[in-house]
């Protein structure tokens, strides 16, 4: 049903004409521990275009979260540079809002509404009244209007993730950075959140940088996937996945791409995985 070659060609053609929003150029990241300096990534480069859903995918230790933190401005690169809109990223700022995996990213002393208003007020983007208005608008988008005055500790995990997403969207940032935002959720809720995220993207068309370690999630959420190999993180491939959504989970093309990614990430012999067809209840897809 698809002609992958033609699609790749057309995508790269548009990519060359449009100016990338985020340019990551040969970025090496290092962590300093008490004993040693650990190399997290080695000369990683990629471009993210407006309205991309760009996924960083790789096993643990490939530096994908470090890359996201670096784009957010929390971790300065040891070498290379990160540019947003052509400007060098130096420090954290409200033009790149991060959605974390942890539930404690919502200050427990603020109600749901106050939480969504918080970045708008803290960064002095909007005065209080307009901030409240916009916060209500995005709470409505994630279906939490009824819980505007609840405190975070009374919400379920999925609802907390929704608040974090509404909070990020309300800022209308240049980029939305998500660090395994659904990893702490149960499988059913995670599926629902992926679906809602895609529906929100259809409406708002935000630019997304999404970190995950699940091949399945990367294919569903992303339109382009950067594969990273671990120790240190290096680019293995960039793959298109704009043709897949939650509806294509069981399909043949989806399975093939998943197998290909698996092979690329783990450097398996090209012949061996085809011998055993991939089963979607297989643990490999929800590492």
């Amino acid at each position: 049903m698809h002609n992958p070659a033609a699609e790749t060609a057309s995508v790269s053609a548009t990519a060359q004409t449009a100016q990338p929003l985020l340019q990551v150029d040969r970025v090496s990241l290092q962590y300093r521990t008490a004993q040693a300096v650990v190399q997290a990534t080695h000369e990683v480069g990629f471009h993210v275009h407006p309205a991309d859903r760009f996924v960083l995918l790789g096993p643990s230790g490939c530096g994908k979260s470090s890359l996201l933190k670096s784009v957010a401005g929390f971790l300065p690169p040891a070498a290379g540079e990160i540019r947003l809109d052509g400007r060098l990223v130096r420090e954290p700022g409200p033009d790149r809002i991060v959605v974390f995996q942890e539930f404690d990213q919502l200050p427990p002393w603020k109600t749901v509404l106050e939480n969504v208003m918080f970045p708008l007020l803290a960064s002095k983007t909007l005065p209080r009244r307009e901030a409240a208005e916009r916060a209500r608008h995005y709470l409505d988008k994630v279906g939490l209007t009824r819980f505007a005055d609840a405190y975070p500790h009374t919400l379920s995990g999925g609802m907390k993730a929704r608040v974090a997403i509404a909070r990020a969207l309300a800022m209308q940032p240049r980029m939305l950075l998500m660090d395994e935002p659904f990893a702490a959720l149960d499988a059913l809720t995670r599926r629902k959140m992926q679906e809602e995220l895609l529906i929100l993207w259809e409406e708002v068309r935000f630019t997304l940088l999404f970190v995950t370690h699940s091949i399945e999630e990367a294919l569903v959420v992303g339109n382009r996937i950067l594969l990273l190999t671990p120790h240190p993180g290096r680019v293995r491939a960039e793959i298109n996945s704009h043709q897949y959504d939650l509806g294509s989970l069981g399909g043949a093309g989806f399975q093939q791409t998943a197998q290909r990614i698996h092979r690329l990430l783990f450097d398996e012999d090209a012949a061996s995985p085809s011998a055993q067809p991939i089963n979607f209840s297989d643990v490999r897809f929800s590492y």
């Binding site: 700022g93 404690d104 002393w109 918080f118 803290a122 405190y151």
Partner: protein, 288 residues
């Protein structure tokens, strides 16, 4: 032979909406009443008073242990004559001044400590030096420096509040999760706004604990200072009242003074600190 579970029939049910069984059952009035903390604590106080009264009567020696009723009478007399009120007010005035000053200083020190390496080292060294030093031991020096008056009392009280509060606040700041810190910085908060919007509310359970300990330390130090050194501030406070009455062997008045100290402690605990906790950390689910 390997054990195999039996294969059973599948089944599906159509669920009719539940009617008749209520989802929540209200507690009985008695249960609800007993859930009130003040009632349970009041019963404990009542039992203690009864115990006191019976031991006092059995001892039958007013000089050593006046009964509860005698003490209560002395207490009411003291209040009626205005003497006890005045003494308490004098003590509380000094106490509040020193307490507020101690809080401000502790906040400055801990803010310095979270923002600079020098501040961290300074706070660490100062607290390990001064925290174990009893405030009352500084009073002789304070009297030399500041003379007889409020100044020397405030000096020792600040000493007793400051270190306990600073240690607790700083520990609280250190416990704030990385995610919350990053979220705050992500929204462009830094410096004092960061401390006020992220660190202070997130560390509030520890800060409240520090405020409680500081308050208790300050009370103890104040009463002790007045007991040991008499009317330090010209007009004596509650400690002086206790000291004077002991000298004149009005044991019931001594007990009335002690009861005043206890009552104020209870009141501040239940009205101020518990209320503060209820509208903040409990409400936010940060503390059970």
């Amino acid at each position: 032979m390997a054990l195999t579970p039996p294969i059973r029939e599948e089944y599906e049910l159509t669920l009719a909406p539940l009617t008749g069984t209520p989802l929540a059952r209200p507690l009985s009035p008695w249960q609800r009443l007993w859930r009130q903390t003040w009632l349970r604590k009041g019963v404990i106080l009542l039992l203690l008073a009864l115990l006191w009264e019976s031991v006092g009567r059995w001892q039958n020696n007013d000089l050593l242990l006046p009964t509860f009723m005698q003490t209560a009478r002395a207490f009411v007399d003291g209040l009626a004559s205005g003497e006890l009120f005045l003494k308490t007010w004098l003590s509380l005035q000094v106490l509040l001044k020193a307490y507020v000053l101690g809080i401000v200083l502790a906040f400055l020190l801990t803010t310095l400590a979270v923002s600079t390496q020098f501040g961290r080292d300074l706070l660490g060294t100062l607290t390990s030096m001064f925290n174990p030093l009893p405030a009352i031991a500084l009073l002789p020096i304070a009297l030399l420096w500041f003379g007889l008056g409020q100044g020397s009392l405030i000096f020792v009280l600040v000493h007793s509040v400051l270190w306990a509060l600073a240690v607790n606040t700083y520990t609280g700041f250190l416990g704030v999760s990385d995610t919350l810190r990053m979220a705050g910085r992500n929204y462009g908060l830094r410096g004092l706004p960061f401390v006020f919007h992220i660190l202070v509310p997130a560390a509030l359970p520890s800060i409240l604990a520090g405020l409680r300990i500081g308050w208790a330390f300050a009370w103890r130090t104040l009463i002790a200072a007045e007991l040991v050194f008499g009317a330090t501030s010209g007009q004596g406070g509650l400690g002086w009242y206790i000291f004077q009455n002991r000298n004149e062997l009005y044991t019931d008045k001594v007990f009335a003074g002690l009861a005043m100290v206890i009552l104020i402690g209870l009141l501040v605990e239940s009205l101020v600190f518990n209320t503060l906790e209820r509208v903040t950390v409990r409400r936010w689910g940060m503390q059970r």
